[in-house]
């Protein structure tokens, strides 16, 4: 869960990308890659896939997924087993994640080809950003979104290097909570934000 202090965030921010990801036992079970016809079995299968997607994306700090591309690589492919998930099955899994609030479809309306994966929900990112700003005495001053994500001041924070689309969603949450005001610039990179208590 979100770390509660700036210092622990600094310590935990360097994700152990070097460490290999621990796949669950199911990942080595060939039928895991076939959509099970029995509904109760499928529900369990889907649940495990959802957990796996979030865990894998959290481990590798990935934020978005394009279905066509995703099914050509881990975690949706197990090269050793020579099995891979089909696109339509992955789509069902993402739909479930969307239901749980852990993903949103991006791209044109009614197309389900790409999505954002929220292994940490925007509300939680929002909380972390706000807390950091509050602790640094940066409330009521204008920051650029670029600074937030990439500035030296945020080095060591969990949200440092946060994907732009996800960061934008987090800021939208703060805005809807009345804790931030966004200022559009000429491009997304120019976006500014003022955070309030």
């Amino acid at each position: 869960m979100a770390s509660t202090t700036a210092t622990s965030a600094a310590v935990g921010a360097t994700v152990a990308v070097g460490e290999p990801f621990q796949f669950p036992e199911m990942y080595n079970f060939p039928p895991f890659f076939t959509r099970q016809p029995t509904e109760s079995t499928w529900k369990e299968q889907r649940r495990q896939w959802c957990d796996l997607v979030l865990a894998y994306y959290r481990h590798h700090r990935r934020y978005s997924l394009s279905l066509a591309e995703a099914v050509t690589a881990p975690p949706f492919v197990n090269r050793q087993l020579r099995r891979g998930l089909r696109v339509d099955v992955l789509r069902e899994i993402i739909d479930e994640l969307v239901k749980q609030g852990n993903a949103v479809w991006t791209g044109a309306k009614n197309t389900k080809d790409a999505c954002l994966v929220f292994w940490r929900k925007p509300e939680v990112w929002a909380g972390m950003i706000h807390q950091w700003a509050s602790e640094r005495g940066l409330l009521n001053s204008v920051l650029t979104v670029f600074e937030l994500a990439n500035g030296d001041d945020t080095a060591g924070q969990e949200f440092h290097d946060l994907d732009a689309a996800t960061l934008r969603r987090a800021l939208d949450v703060l805005q809807s909570q009345g804790k931030a005001q966004l200022f559009a610039g000429t491009s997304d990179e120019d976006l500014g934000v003022k955070l309030f208590a």
């Binding site: 080595n28 079970f29 039928p31 890659f33 076939t34 109760s40 079995t41 020579r82 099995r83």
Partner: protein, 246 residues
């Protein structure tokens, strides 16, 4: 005995024989009485023994099994009633009750994956994992006893053998003999195809389809159908354990 001669001798033989048999009965009676006394003494000694060695009984599964065998020989069933004095003396009434609850928990928790069939060894591994460090070790015999205690629940907990593989079933269903046959076929490779079944027992196709479909519906098997061209394989999740990383 004096060798008898003549009628008198025969009569005397008869009388002796009768006296002997009566004596025999008396003797038998007396033996039986003595045995009864001995058993009472043994029971009481066993109770004392159990009381004194309670800790070892709880902590040493091999010792525990031996003590339980002794109890059985003498005709004392320590698990006859949880509130029974022996269960309390052995201090194991709670142990098996606790174990039973953990078994139920694991079986219910894995049911959506394995359809209510779990390998005995896998159950044991999960039990050991769950239990706190330093708590009593578990052997197969303990699991069998805990499961036999679950009978009154009528939820169908029982141990079934499929060839060499011992499984715990936790769903109240009659293990259909066709299922058993197919599961036994899969015991070494963890999987099978419909063609395997046909080759092994020459069942007609309807019977094979029905059996496989039922097993799928019950969640006992999962289908592996990577490409629509090749024949799908059916895997038994209860048999399958990849090298456990945890």
């Amino acid at each position: 005995m004096r060798k008898a001669v003549g009628i008198g001798g025969l009569r005397r033989q008869e009388a002796e024989r009768r006296a002997l048999s009566q004596k025999g009965t008396e003797l038998a009676q007396r033996e039986i009485e003595k045995l009864r006394e001995q058993i009472t003494v043994m029971k009481s000694n066993l109770e004392d023994f159990v009381r004194v060695h309670q800790r070892e009984i709880r902590n040493d599964p091999v010792f525990r099994v031996q003590v339980q065998r002794m109890c059985q020989l003498i005709g004392v069933d320590p698990l006859a009633s949880r509130k029974g004095y022996m269960a309390e003396l052995l201090g194991v009434g709670d142990f098996y009750c606790e174990l039973g609850i953990q078994i139920i928990d694991i079986c219910v928790g894995t049911r959506s994956v394995n359809g209510g069939l779990i390998e005995l060894d896998e159950l044991r591994r999960r039990l050991i994992q769950r239990r706190l460090k330093g708590s009593e070790p578990i052997v197969e015999d303990d699991i069998r006893r805990a499961i036999s205690q679950l009978k009154p629940l009528k939820s169908g907990y029982k141990i079934i053998d499929f060839g060499k593989r011992k499984m715990v079933q936790s769903v109240a269903r009659e293990m259909n003999s066709d299922f058993s046959t197919v599961l036994t076929l899969a015991q070494y490779t963890n999987k099978f195809t419909k063609e395997d079944i046909r080759l092994a027992w020459n069942w007609d196709l309807d019977r094979i389809h029905a059996c496989v479909n039922d097993m799928l519906c019950l969640g006992i098997i999962w289908i592996d159908d990577p490409d629509d061209c090749c024949e799908p394989e059916y895997w038994v999740p209860a048999f399958f354990h990849s090298n456990p990383s945890s």
